[in-house]
């Protein structure tokens, strides 16, 4: 037995010295190699769940800091790292990639993308991560390029222009590799872009297919845009999608229509904004779509990660998609057909009185943005947002970070489009600064607070809540030992019992957690990593500061 462990350790150790060779078959079976974290969401089903069990509810209180990676940038650190055979690949803002020795935290190499002096993305110069295929990493950049980087050396292999950054396009999303293609698209929903999702040949960077998220003339859905409003209609892409190999479908969430708060200038449903689109992975052809917020008036980007799960639905096993949307509703869709199965609010919301049988929301009169300002729930950052939700096949629960009792006053006015400039058609004022603040909590709790919320996917009913004083932009990781890891704006990283929500361990990291945690093993030992403030922290069982010589 001991010898087996030794051999296994040797193999793992040797593997860490071999260049990463991540075939697409490995990505398809990512859940089967939990020692790694091979895609943005841990697997192509995007469950953000790991089968690792060394860290348990019983021993999680013994977690200690192992190492810290300090970014050189002061921008918000939203990235989820990849871990491949002992090497961590992480992006730090604006577009720097580091390959890190997971044993020590020391870098093997650092790649810095040459940036123009200024870029024009909305809301912060962030990047959310990488994809890998073979021995190549794929990075989206704020100047709207897609870059292929050699995973062994950090040298650039190719660089493809995705869109014109001076017109407000930028790539912040972690790309997704499907077969021999790299899929990504541009952010810019507040800049009047015409969004799209595109697949690029992983070897050459050549565009293979492109799906327009604001339907162009001649494309189905263009009739849902008044006049030429599709040209500046947003439909940004800024959070990574999922893939079902059996159906050969790529699923991706799309951003708000533009201008954000003035729907009068873009009458119609505005397809395919605020939607999930199911695309043929080989051709990019639309198989089905579901639009969460037709003719959106509140900036309810539907960029959330599509979580693919096989659940028992009314007595039968069904391939579904679980979706906690920024608009405050939790959805269950049939992911083969797009059929609407369930839509139920998971936070306080006032913009809709419900969803009809066809899956269309019924808007509440009087909640539209106005010149004098209109209050509506949820507020502009939504009931949830871009950070990872999780589904645990063990508990059967869907977990998400939610903003409860949170509202915004929405304003609307006319605005002319100018390329590259802000194009929002209004404004949004919340009771507290909703994107990023100093480390003080001063407002009244009646203005909103954060929760980690566990939902029963079959009903949308809340199973438990973990309530926080502040709101949170942290994603969720669950493990097969029924642990849940997340963090919050207060600066805590914590572990909960995934069955009950009971807090089991907590560590103050000194600044806002606005990222999603991952877990993996090094030399057969389980670790958990999370970005907070301007650094990435790695925790494991046992003491800090082990002597190695």
């Amino acid at each position: 037995m001991k010898r087996l462990v030794l051999i296994s350790t040797l193999i793992t150790t040797l593997a860490s010295f071999l260049p990463a060779q991540v075939s697409f078959e490995r990505l398809l079976r990512a859940a089967g190699e939990p020692q790694n974290w091979l895609t943005y969401s841990g697997n192509l089903q995007s469950t953000h769940h790991s089968s690792l069990t060394q860290i348990t509810p019983e021993n999680v209180a013994n977690l200690n800091l192992k190492w810290v990676w300090q970014a050189q940038s002061l921008e918000k650190f939203e990235a989820t790292p990849l871990v491949v055979d002992g090497v961590m690949y992480v992006t730090e803002p604006p577009n720097t990639v580091a390959a890190i020795d997971t044993r020590t935290g020391r870098p093997y190499w650092i790649y810095q993308h040459p940036m123009p002096e200024t870029t024009f993305v909305c809301c912060g110069n962030v990047n959310r991560g990488l994809a890998i295929l073979g021995n190549t990493l794929f990075l989206g950049t704020l100047d709207a390029h897609l870059v292929a980087i050699d995973a062994a050396t950090g040298r650039k292999k190719w660089d493809t222009k995705v869109a014109e950054y001076t017109h407000g396009y930028g790539v912040t999303v972690a790309p997704l590799v499907v077969k021999d293609k790299v899929i990504a698209g541009p952010a810019g929903g507040e800049r009047g872009i015409a969004g799209f999702l595109a697949a690029y040949d992983a070897q050459t960077g050549r565009e293979v297919w492109k799906f327009n998220t604001t339907a162009h003339p001649g494309e189905p859905g263009n009739e849902t845009w008044a006049g030429d409003s599709w040209k500046t209609g947003g439909g940004s892409v800024w959070v990574t999608g999922s893939y079902d190999a059996d159906l050969n479908l790529v699923y991706w969430g799309t951003g708000n229509p533009g201008p954000d708060w003035n729907p009068a200038v873009r009458k119609g449903a505005n397809l395919y904004t605020d939607s999930v689109v199911a695309l043929d992975a080989d051709t990019g052809k639309l198989k089905w779509h579901y639009q969460f917020t037709p003719n959106d008036e509140w900036d309810f980007d539907s960029v959330q990660v599509p979580v693919l799960a096989d659940v028992t639905w009314k007595g039968n096993s069904r391939k579904v998609m679980l979706w906690g949307n920024r608009n405050g509703f939790f959805y269950v869709l049939d992911r083969a057909t797009g059929e609407f199965l369930l839509g139920k609010p998971f936070v306080k919301q006032t913009w809709s009185s419900g969803i009809d049988e066809a899956g269309k929301p019924i808007k509440t009169p009087g909640k539209s943005p106005s010149a004098a300002g209109t209050d509506a729930y949820p507020g502009v950052q939504g009931g949830t947002n871009w950070y990872a939700p999780s589904f645990s096949p063990r508990t059967g629960l869907f977990y998400l970070t939610a903003w409860e009792d949170y509202h915004t006053t929405y304003f609307q006015w006319d605005q002319d489009y100018e390329p590259g400039k802000s194009f929002t058609g209004g404004a949004a004022r919340s009771p507290f600064q909703s994107i990023r603040r100093d480390p003080f909590i001063k407002w009244g709790p009646e203005w909103g607070y954060g929760v980690v919320r566990a939902l029963n996917p079959a009903t949308g009913e809340k199973v438990w809540d973990y309530k926080m004083r502040d709101v949170s932009d942290a994603g969720i990781l669950t493990t097969a030992s029924d642990l849940l890891f997340s963090g919050n704006r207060e600066g805590y990283f914590f572990a909960l019992d995934a069955k009950t929500g009971k807090e089991l361990w907590k560590c103050y990291l000194g600044s806002q957690v606005a990222a999603s945690p991952i877990t993996y093993t090094v030399d057969g030992v389980q670790y958990v990593s999370i970005a907070a403030g301007h650094s990435l922290f790695t925790f494991g069982l046992g003491s800090t500061g082990e002597v190695r010589h």
Binding site: S73, T119, T166, F411, A428, Q433, K442, M468
Partner: protein, 267 residues
């Protein structure tokens, strides 16, 4: 990009001896687009480019208020120009794609939106107001340019940050608008001890407070039997306690407490 840079350099050069004179705070760069028409144009740009984060009237939303007369990343026109065109690292304030004229017009609008801009026109006598300030013991709690108390807000540049109406309201009805920085915690521990003080910070588990003995205290919420956040001001109202002329003088004194020339200009 290059064009914009050239535009900035050209505009700065147009402003005469700006850079050369930067060591003399009487001779800083002046805004070449500061007419009333420029302010109107600046307001138009503000609504389309800035209001989404800073609020329709610049009084703050996702981003901070821009009406207080002081700017975190530099108060001078040049500093504002750089903030708008380059963004602020580490914040959602990214670079904005505007030409030089638009930026200067925005700055002109921001100057006009300062709520304290008319405070210097108070009809009262600021000298007499200073005397009333001293006689009523205001300095026990407030600093106003010279050393004073710390338990109330610092009034050193209050005239730049508040309108005349706001100043008078604060004196007559201190509870009308109490900044959350001055909300206090009143709590009873599970062992029966009473705790109170200004709430400096809070999170899910704890409070950080400043008690009346000027001690910084850490409190676990789990140790408290009950607590409340008191949102009223400890400041007494001056309603009926001051003659209206004295009130006008006191307002005039507070209005005269202006922000210093910008840091950049003093260097």
């Amino acid at each position: 990009m290059i064009l914009k840079e050239v535009g900035l350099v050209a505009l700065l050069c147009c402003c005469g001896t700006g850079w050369l004179g930067a060591q003399d705070h009487t001779n800083v760069i002046s805004n070449p687009f500061a007419t009333s028409e420029d302010i109107v144009a600046g307001e138009r740009s503000f609504r389309s480019q800035c209001a989404a984060c800073h609020g329709p009237d610049a009084s703050g939303a996702a981003g901070p208020s821009l009406t207080t007369g002081t700017f975190r990343h530099g108060d001078s026109d040049e500093a504002l120009f750089v903030t708008i065109t380059k963004g602020v690292t580490g914040t959602p304030m990214v670079a904005f794609k505007l030409d030089g004229r638009e930026v200067w017009q925005l700055i002109s609008f921001l100057r006009s939106a300062n709520v304290g801009k008319a405070a210097g026109q108070a009809p009262g006598n600021p000298g007499k107001g200073a005397q009333i300030f001293t006689e009523n013991g205001c300095a026990q709690c407030h600093t106003a340019g010279k050393p004073g108390g710390f338990s109330g807000p610092d009034l050193t540049d209050i005239g730049s940050r508040r309108s005349l109406v706001q100043l008078e309201t604060a004196l007559l009805n201190p509870n009308a608008e109490v900044d959350p920085d001055y909300w206090s915690l009143r709590a009873r521990t599970k062992t029966g001890q009473t705790i109170s003080g200004i709430r400096m910070n809070e999170d899910t588990d704890s409070f950080q407070i400043l008690d009346s003995s000027r001690r910084l205290l850490s409190i676990w919420k789990a140790d408290l039997a009950s607590y409340e956040i008191v949102r009223t001001s400890p400041m007494p109202s001056f309603k009926g306690k001051l003659q209206s002329s004295d009130l006008g003088d006191l307002v005039a004194y507070l209005a005269s407490l202006r922000a210093q020339p910008s840091r950049e200009a003093q260097q």
